[in-house]
Symmetry: C2
Subunit: 361 residues, 2 copies
């Protein structure tokens, strides 16, 4: 077997190795049923137990109150961009969005199809290198909700604190769900595509306060109503079984690591190792302003594009993969979600120091 | 390891064992990259090649003309129920639907949100035990398309020939895609959830004639426009990578079996083995009328509900699983898609004969 490499990809991303090994067995023969995991009926006792345990562990890890539903949906986070306003706006209703990156911008575009969208803050002019502080925007009085992206994968920014407002919060947490403790009760809805901190691509988690299920306009297609899925425990139609299973395995692993509070500490320590290198030299320049730095994605530049290309290529030869930045801002990026091992970061930090010595600007 | 059982489930359903074994390896370490299949970037060279090969093999196996796009979408076949009329109707446009079962009925319900829906045929009064012949309905002159479900999983009915009409056909082939040769050029759109004949749950194949991509109303959410996905090779957002990979492996397996024509012959022979038992006795009663019989799902009854329960339970003890019929019509059902092995059918047929002897009515 090839040696396992350190995969810094932004998503799909590194998963715990023990989860992969277990999944590899279960795909062929699930729990000794003589049927593979990907062949077994979603209504079988065995699979229902998998889905229930995944939800139970997510509720426990995130301390989700009882008046919130947990949904396992298809269509990616991108489908939530329109489902949220389709279900919660309409009839000239208003919502407030903070424009902190590409994914926020896409969500704003879709929301405009369903209501009046107020965007009181944007960091687009500065290549989205920061998120706002509380005094940089106001939430319109008649807004139904305040929408924000808690972590911006491309730019490596993250809200250190969530917005303070009386309005209900809605957040795209695709790239930092389960990476830190949060107070769910401040949110109307939280969603996250699985392929960063949760599992493989193919399932999106939606956590929604149950009173919101009743707001959807009548003429909405059945599959696009949150209530449809909430009423059927995400089994209105055949769910993406494998992805749900894999999320469940990741959640079990996360519990073994000590849960979200423990993970938050580990994440902080992992990110600090890299930021310390960036801060100790002018050779590596972080993209994000210090106060907005993400613990999940670290975007940085080298003195020249040529050096960046060389850095990425040389890193790959020693098993440090996926360090290329997003095409929209270039440079380098290290995505270090929950499951990314500390050893890989230590190796990257050593490589960064040596590369600077070997390749003076 | 537990012995592999014969799994007659209607979907998710039996997959080729060699596909499971390969998937089990690739999940842990994909093509010796040192990265698991479910961790690797969807934009990596390796995964792009997987998606391209899957599409290429599907085109080859189904003889899909160049003016059709192949899309790998999320949301299940159930999402196609609304996406089709959302993209192709609107503004008082009309379409014709044939009501041959639960899934047709659900599609009709969603279509009514977007246009005038004509339903000139329904077999609902007879528990959907047949599909119509050509002279049993007419397609309205001003219909945009004729929609039908080519195989009705629950009732075990299947269109032996496709409707003859000048209108373009649209078909839900979730339960018989790739089971027989078809002439794609008669269709505007064909779709199929993967979890019966194609692979695991989590991806839906849509084959769409390219001129239809331009019909979508402007104010449709980006993710719900077929064109969005067609223009980006189904990579507008992160696709359900694992499900696409697994479909690709099933398609490779199907090519090795000799392709669709060979599979059609095998399917006919497999189904005949069971129908011969049903026809040779009054003990087993087929649900579908003979002319409408499905080669994929065989729904049948025993003299009493008690005997049916005993039949299903005893079958399970000898490794014949998932024979319970759908709750809406009760009884028994054997789902025998492409990947269901002939040996399992021989074993079922022997069991049926013995059970009748041991349990006279």
């Amino acid at each position: 077997m090839t040696e396992r490499v350190f995969n810094f990809s932004p998503g799909p991303a590194t998963l715990p190795y023990e989860v992969l090994v277990q999944a590899g067995k279960d795909v062929v023969n699930f729990q000794e049923t003589g049927i593979g995991l990907i062949e077994i009926s979603h209504r079988s006792r065995e699979f229902m137990a998998v889905a229930e345990e995944a939800e139970k562990n997510l509720r426990e890890l995130m301390e989700i109150p009882d008046n919130y539903k947990v949904l396992f949906l298809q269509g990616g986070a991108s489908s939530q961009f329109f489902m949220i306003p389709m279900n919660l706006l309409g009839n000239g209703k208003k919502a407030t969005y903070l424009n902190t990156g590409t994914w926020a911008k896409k969500a704003i575009k879709e929301a405009k199809l369903f209501g009046e969208i107020d965007v009181p803050y944007s960091s687009e002019e500065n290549s989205f290198n920061r998120v706002p502080t509380q005094d940089e925007y106001t939430v319109a009085e008649d807004s139904e909700y305040l929408y924000f992206v808690s972590n911006n994968t491309i730019y490596g920014t993250q809200f250190p604190e969530f917005p303070e407002t009386e309005k209900m919060l809605i957040s795209d947490m695709s790239s930092d769900i389960l990476s830190r403790k949060i107070d769910i009760s401040r949110f109307g809805l939280i969603f996250a595509g699985a392929q960063k901190n949760l599992g493989p691509a193919g399932v999106t988690i939606v956590i929604i306060r149950d009173d919101l299920l009743e707001r959807t306009p009548q003429n909405t297609p059945t599959m696009l109503k949150y209530k449809t899925h909430a009423d059927k425990g995400s089994m209105f139609n055949t769910p993406p079984c494998f992805a749900i299973y894999a999320v469940g395995e990741v959640l079990k692993w996360l519990k073994k690591q000590g849960g979200v509070a423990a993970m938050e500490e580990i994440n902080r320590e992992k990110a600090t190792l890299i930021y310390d290198v960036i801060d100790s030299t002018d050779y590596y320049i972080g993209h994000a302003e210090k106060e907005s730095r993400s613990l999940m994605n670290i975007s940085f530049n080298l003195p020249t594009a040529e050096l960046e290309a060389k850095f990425i290529a040389e890193a790959a030869t020693i098993g440090l993969n996926g360090l290329k930045g997003h095409r929209s801002i270039g440079g380098c990026r290290a995505s270090i979600y929950n499951a990314f091992p500390r050893d890989g970061i230590v190796k990257l930090v050593e490589f960064m120091k040596q590369f600077e010595l070997d390749n003076p600007a």
